[in-house]
């Protein structure tokens, strides 16, 4: 007789079976813990996607996590489907076997098996294994024959017992009698029981053991509803139409052991065998066998010694200059300290590999810079991985690496987005092999809108209803107390008590965060010594030439897999393009690593004249930068870091700004903290300061302090946080710090640790911010050209960037078929100044291949003489493209073209297809054009509609006289107004924001021909004018002006829409 607790669930699929399982792995582990089951095996479809988080959670729940997978096998025909005489919509797909990892070899084989058939596909696809694959990767695996998805169910139903016998024979040959179990499942269905009797007979005749499982697809009964919805999504149908695709009943939950024992009371050995198998499954993800690659070093050297040599070379290079020689000794001491720790932790190979990547970038002219906490390391600085001098800036190494942290360092590299980044990624693939490196995955999960849409489809709502329902899911960053889904629905006229709407709401909530499919991470690459496909399965990404592993970055971190983030940064591409343009057009060389500290740059920053600059261009940055008034690099570091949720929520920003303006006395929570907080005027702003504070006041070691920071950063580690807080307070008490100061310090630490910014990261970003500011101030044409060529990026639309550049004196030339390239270019004006020529890439609807054909024709035979000649010489151009070019005035420089409408009149004829008879005939002479010249407003509308930009005057400039009559001021005129005076201002809305930290306040940026005005809307005013504010492109605002130390805001009281002139300019909303 079996014991009630003998049963172990060995066949459970999670939501990581992607639309074939309804519970998160964590939910499965928690449920098993509740049921006091000692172990459970996860088996997702064709992979181990959910295994890592399942293992992590199971470890927390003290449940043993067995790892397995349901593997599709193409050699066994198709899965069981209902008989032909029953209507059904089952697709044909290969049956799946359940393979469980008994040992590390088994796990490695499973990963290789999955990789083998996944990579055999030419694109991203499910794939299926063959018998040869199974045979090759069979060691260390235990095979269960599966339930209705298995090969035996189909064989018994379609071809009878003899076929089932053949399959079992094949599997016995592959896995051995000891490793093959005939699987029995009981979901209280007649057909299944009939099959079970056949399976029992088969097992008995072949003397094979049977085993009970429940083929779990969800943790609890209620989740059957989610599975049904997921099933409809998978089969592109609705619940009403899904029919037999849905589950017959809700018995695929995790049953308690006693329930399973009762279900299998007549076959007790099936239950007992679950425990036997569980005991044989010795593998867990704790012994993954992952190893970071060794860096090949010359004979006689170790990686540590080789690294030390490279670092010493770097130190000499970095600190050898007379300006930095004073830091040399200190730098040597620091790198010794760091190298010692690196050697102790065995990380030398990692540093060398990243260094190798940096060298590759340098050799191939690719701009690269490390970001994040790596900038705290003098070793990284010496190896040129980072550009911030941690010695000069007194950065804290422990934030980057500490002995007790038990995890690998994390180095993120910023690369120019686009082809250069792809080049580096492909280099890594080539260097480490297709099976030695892969991108980390990015699990695409259901969020508000996607869940709302998919659940709506499942419930059979039509397209109109879906659009309306999903539009109700708000996308503001800030949400008011009434912004619940139910409230939104009620407001939109939906009866939330209607059963279908109630189900809809409930399902939308429950679908949140369930995985939808696997994408690839923006830049994380995992590399491995040996074969990565033994550690985790690899598969094709949607993007050609890329492969991904089945885990995301958190899983990689949890499992100890090391990744190097190769991130694309638009501004890096801008810098790179700029430093290529500057020598060509300004005859000057620019070294980004040696830009001088320039007062003019700081003066520009202080005026918040920062459109287009990295990190300091946002509305909030512009509002605060004049208060901070940066005059040296470190001020910019603070500026980059201070407009973050951490300092704002932690109420650090205002005190810092007041102290900066000498409006408040600089004080310290405790005198001993003065050296730590002096640079930030007594206000803790950086994570490194938190560490140093703990080290100073409570005598924490560097690694203890880092542990404290991480504990504060993790919401769920309350107990750990309490322990550490206790230790912190004890330490402070020992150091004689009073209770009040202790409270201040603890409050300071906890309020911003969660969101706080590492100083090193801020410094890395500040370097790029300064470089962008320097280039904008001194090389406006090159910088603007590069910005326009790397869109979309940054905070502002190209239209705003162009207007800003024009206000700064740059001449911007319109698109011209005779001289524009595909990208924007620089040209020399007759007065020797530089101007910017807009590229053909800004013509909406013009394909790049067509533009290249234009350039080729122009380069080959010179400028085009007429519209007809243009059409004849570039047959690739279709009529619509010719119209698009004519509409934006790109053909105005052709002879015989007097104005845009003239060109439009001509292209309509030239662009029409001509039959073979007339193809060689001379073009019909153009009769005089009957169309009128475009008016100014029409030209403006055509510019915005055709390119999204205009090189002519700002739309507001045309109305200025009229506006002035109405007493409406320009943005520039606001500077001369006194505070609290009620003024009227009008302009184009270039940004709308409702930040999470602003308690419902809405911020608008209005642009006119003179500059940008900042508008604040109270929550009440916003609610009263919601539609006008969110929909109108041009607004007139009336309200009192506030001028705080040069930062000017208008507090809106009256909002009126203005006529738009057809200028359809995109704005930057709600971020």
């Amino acid at each position: 007789m079996s014991q009630a607790n003998d049963y172990i669930e060995l066949h459970a699929s999670s939501a990581f079976s992607f639309l074939a399982g309804a519970s998160q792995p964590e939910a499965l582990a928690e449920r098993v813990q509740q049921l006091e089951m000692p172990a459970i095996a996860i088996a997702d479809r064709n992979g181990i996607y959910g295994a890592a988080r399942f293992h992590t959670m199971a470890t927390k729940c003290s449940v043993k996590a067995h790892i397995g997978a349901e593997i599709a096998v193409s050699s066994f025909g198709n899965t069981l489907t209902p008989p032909d005489w029953l209507p059904h919509q089952y697709p044909s797909e290969p049956p799946r076997l359940l393979l469980l990892c008994a040992s590390q070899i088994g796990y490695q084989n499973l990963c290789q098996l999955v990789t083998r058939f996944k990579m055999r596909e030419t694109t991203k696809a499910e794939g299926a294994a063959t018998l040869d694959d199974l045979e090759e990767f069979s060691a260390g695996l235990i095979c269960l024959t599966g339930g209705e998805e298995g090969p035996l169910a189909a064989a018994l139903a379609h071809k009878g017992r003899s076929e089932a016998c053949k399959i079992v024979d094949r599997l016995t040959n592959i896995y051995g009698r000891a490793n093959l179990y005939i699987e029995l499942q009981r979901h209280q269905q007649r057909d299944e029981e009939c099959r079970n009797q056949s399976l029992l007979h088969l097992a008995s005749s072949l003397r094979l053991p049977v085993i009970a499982t429940n083929g779990v697809r969800y943790a609890t009964q209620k989740d059957r509803e989610i599975l049904d919805v997921l099933t409809t999504i998978r089969h592109h149908t609705s619940l009403d139409r899904a029919g037999r695709l849905l589950n017959l009943n809700n018995s695929r939950e995790i049953h308690p052991a006693h329930h399973m024992a009762a279900l299998f009371a007549d076959i007790p050995e099936a239950v007992v065998n679950t425990r036997t198998v569980s005991e044989r499954l010795n593998f867990t993800l704790n012994n993954l066998g992952y190893e970071f690659p060794h860096y090949p070093v010359p004979p006689g050297q170790t990686m540590d010694s080789f690294l030390a040599q490279r670092v010493e070379e770097g130190v000499r290079k970095r600190y050898g200059s007379p300006a930095k020689r004073s830091l040399l000794a200190k730098a040597r001491t620091q790198v010794q300290h760091e190298l010692k720790l690196i050697a102790k932790l065995g990380f030398a190979g990692y540093f060398l590999i990243v260094w190798d990547l940096i060298r590759y970038c340098q050799q191939h002219g690719i701009l690269v810079q490390g970001r994040g906490s790596a900038a705290n390391s003098a070793v990284c600085y010496a190896l040129e991985i980072t550009a911030v001098d941690p010695i000069g800036m007194e950065l804290l190494f422990e934030r980057f690496l500490s002995e007790n942290r038990g995890e690998w360092p994390d180095i993120d590299l910023d690369l120019p987005s686009g082809d250069h980044r792809e080049q580096v990624i492909q280099h890594v693939y080539e260097h480490y092999g297709k099976l030695g490196a892969a991108m980390t995955a990015n699990v695409i999960s259901y969020r508000g809108r996607s869940a709302a849409r998919e659940v709506g489809k499942a419930l059979g709502f039509d397209e109109d209803q879906l659009t309306r329902l999903s539009s109700l899911v708000g996308h503001w960053e800030w949400r008011g107390p009434n912004d619940t889904l139910a409230h939104n629905f009620a407001q939109a006229g939906f009866d939330v008590r209607h059963p279908r709407i109630a189900h809809y709401l409930d399902l939308c909530m429950r679908m949140q965060n369930l995985p939808r499919h696997l994408g690839q991470h923006s830049g994380g690459m995992v590399i491995c010594a040996g074969m990565l496909n033994r550690v985790v399965p690899l598969e094709h990404a949607s993007m050609p030439g890329r492969s991904v592993i089945q885990w995301d970055k958190e899983d990689c971190a949890d499992m100890g897999l090391i990744k190097v983030d190769l991130l694309g940064l638009g501004m890096m591409a801008v810098l790179k393009d700029s430093i290529e343009l500057i020598p060509r057009h300004y005859k000057k060389e620019i070294d980004l690593a040696a830009l001088p500290e320039d007062p003019l740059v700081y003066e520009t920053l202080c005026k918040a004249d920062t459109v287009g600059m990295f990190q300091v261009e946002s509305r909030a940055q512009m509002a605060s930068i004049p208060h901070n008034a940066p005059v040296r690099f470190y001020d910019l570091v603070v500026q980059v870091a201070i407009i973050r949720p951490g300092p704002i929520v932690g109420k650090m920003m205002q005190p810092y700004m007041r102290r900066r303006q000498h409006k408040e006395e600089v004080t310290y929570p405790h005198p001993s903290l003065e050296p730590v907080l002096k640079r930030t005027l007594g206000v803790p702003l950086f994570q490194e300061q938190l560490l140093r504070m703990a080290m100073t006041v409570a005598s924490f070691s560097g690694s203890e302090a880092e542990e404290l920071r991480r504990a504060v950063g993790m919401r769920r580690s309350m107990q750990r946080m309490k322990d550490l807080e206790g230790r912190l307070r004890d330490g402070m008490t020992r150091n004689g710090i009073g209770p009040e100061a202790q409270d201040n310090i603890v409050q300071g630490i906890s309020s911003f640790a969660m969101y706080g910014f590492p100083e090193s990261h801020a410094a890395s970003f500040a370097l790029i911010a300064y470089a962008s500011a320097y280039l904008k101030v001194h090389y406006l044409a090159a910088f603007t050209c590069s910005l326009l060529n790397n869109q979309p990026m940054g905070f502002y639309a190209p239209a705003v960037l162009i207007k800003d550049a024009q206000r700064h004196g740059l001449r911007v030339r319109p698109i011209d078929i005779q001289c524009s390239d595909w990208l924007c270019t620089l040209a020399v004006e007759p007065d020797s100044s530089l101007s910017l020529r807009i590229g053909l890439n800004y013509v909406k609807g013009l394909r790049q291949s067509s533009a290249e054909a234009i350039l080729a024709a122009r380069n080959q035979h010179g400028p085009f003489a007429s519209v007809d000649q243009l059409a004849a010489r570039t047959p690739e151009l279709n009529r619509k493209e010719l119209v698009a070019l004519a509409r934006v005035g790109a053909l105005n420089t052709l002879s015989e073209v007097e104005h845009r409408r003239d060109a439009l009149w001509q292209v309509e004829q030239a662009g029409r297809p001509v039959g073979p008879l007339l193809r060689t005939a001379a073009p019909t002479p153009i009769v005089s054009n009957p169309l009128l010249r475009m008016t100014t407003v029409e030209r403006l509308a055509a510019d915005y509609a055709g390119t999204g930009i205009t090189t002519g005057p700002h739309p507001m400039a045309y109305q200025r006289a009229e506006l002035r009559q109405q007493g409406i001021l320009s943005a520039q005129e606001l500077e001369g107004c006194v505070s609290n005076r009620t003024i009227r201002i009008a302009g184009f809305v270039i940004a709308r924001q409702r930040p999470g930290t602003a308690k419902g306040f809405v911020f608008l940026s209005l642009e006119d021909e003179t500059g940008i005005a900042n508008i604040i809307l109270t929550p009440n005013i916003f609610e009263q004018n919601r539609i006008v504010v969110t929909r109108s492109r041009f607004l007139m605002i009336e309200g009192p002006l506030q001028n705080q130390d040069g930062v000017i805001h208008v507090k809106a009281q009256c909002i009126t829409p203005l006529e738009s002139h057809g200028a359809d300019i995109p704005s930057h909303n709600f971020h």
Binding site: K159, Q188, L248, N249, N250, L931
Partner: protein
Amino acid sequence: MNPNLYACVRIAEFPTQALLRLNTQLASQPVAVLDGRPPLQTVCSHNRHARLKGVSLGMTRLEAESISELHLLPRSLETEAAARIVLHECAAHFSPRIEAASKDTAATCVLDITGTERLFGPPQTLAERLHSALDSVGLRASIAVSSNFHTARIKALTSRSIIVIPDGQEALALGKLPLTALDLAEDPAETLAIWGIRTLGELAALPVSELVARLGPQAVAWRNLASGTLSHTFQPIEAEFTLKEFCDFETPIENQDSLLFIGARMIDCLSARAATRALSLASLAVAMQLEGNQIYQRTIRPAIPTIDCKFLLKLLQLEIAAHPPQAAVLSLTLTAQAGQSSKMQLGLFMPQTPEPSRLDVTIARLKAIAGEDRVGSPVLEDSHRPGIFRMQAFSVPMQTHKAPTMPTESSHPRMALRRMRPPVPVRVQLNAQQPVSFRSTEQAFRVSAAYGPWKTSGCWWSTDGWNAEEWDILAENTTGNSVACLLVHNCALNQWQLEAYYD
């Protein structure tokens, strides 16, 4: 020869006007009409008062509800159809030739009033009388008269009351109208817009050959339309062909034979009228006015349209026999829907089949007796719901040449199940959640073996979900007879039923 003359009548905001025509109290108040399925309703039409309050087309119900004093009415296609009949009747007083030209939510028709001057006076007078006639039936119209059909139609779009365009002045009259009046497709409309062509006059001024070279041959029609010179072939509305017979009895009839005697004559007339148009009778609606102000209504639908009077009379007889009137009949109305006669192509080598009409008669008889949805062949539905099927019309199975399937080990003979229709409610005694005995109103059984429960549940998202447990039972009654049966426990209602016996 007198030129043609057309009067276009346009009733703007027709859904609103149709509703307010009968509800004059609301006429002076803001009213908007909502269209669409709840909860996604939007304003499709409104009156002037509503517009002044800020109502616009496409507004959602929620947005409209926020406007004070606004009356929101649901759109009624029936009311609009009735109002349209009134419009046409009214127009028919002025000309027998009327062409319908409705578009969007406006009701538009064009009257051919050529040669009506001696009857109604000059066009202006006719238009005024027409306007006043429509006004008297509660419809506010704009009327445009022109010798060009399209000019009248387009001008009526923009005029508010009456406009008469003198012959030869069409281009002038249309010249300032916006291009949108032409209702062009998106592509040419966009081209003309970027050319800066905004009015019909500007379009008409473009050189025709140049225009055709750029916009294709259809540009000629647009240009002619814009200049008021496009000709039109008038397509008058034909009077609706209705098959209706009515008989008012002098004395109330209680005898069915008498009723059928009259009915037979009426069917003969209807069939003969249909036959003159080579049509058959697809359905026959029977309406009787009964004593006590009651109404009797039934509809007979033969499986195929027919003019076989005997057959139709037989169906009428069956229908009346099955549903006899509950009082003496005062009047009888038969209204038939016309349909195409049935045809079937026979083949030389096809086996003889029953005459289609005879089979149809039989099916029609069966349907008349059993109900429309209860005759045909049963088809299983794609659902786990126990016992679910639907009836579909009989059809000749397609010849398929499937290879005979080899019997497999699993294809053993299946046990047949005899369903109880309806299932028999039983009381079940359980022990350890297993049935041990059960009792119907007639017999008691002791369970000797029970297999189950076989669980099935579904449709949890709708109100007709099910959740049942089935048990296969071997049981003995008190006389020692054993039965194999299927017991079903409805978990939601906690009810047991004897669903079937195993044969």
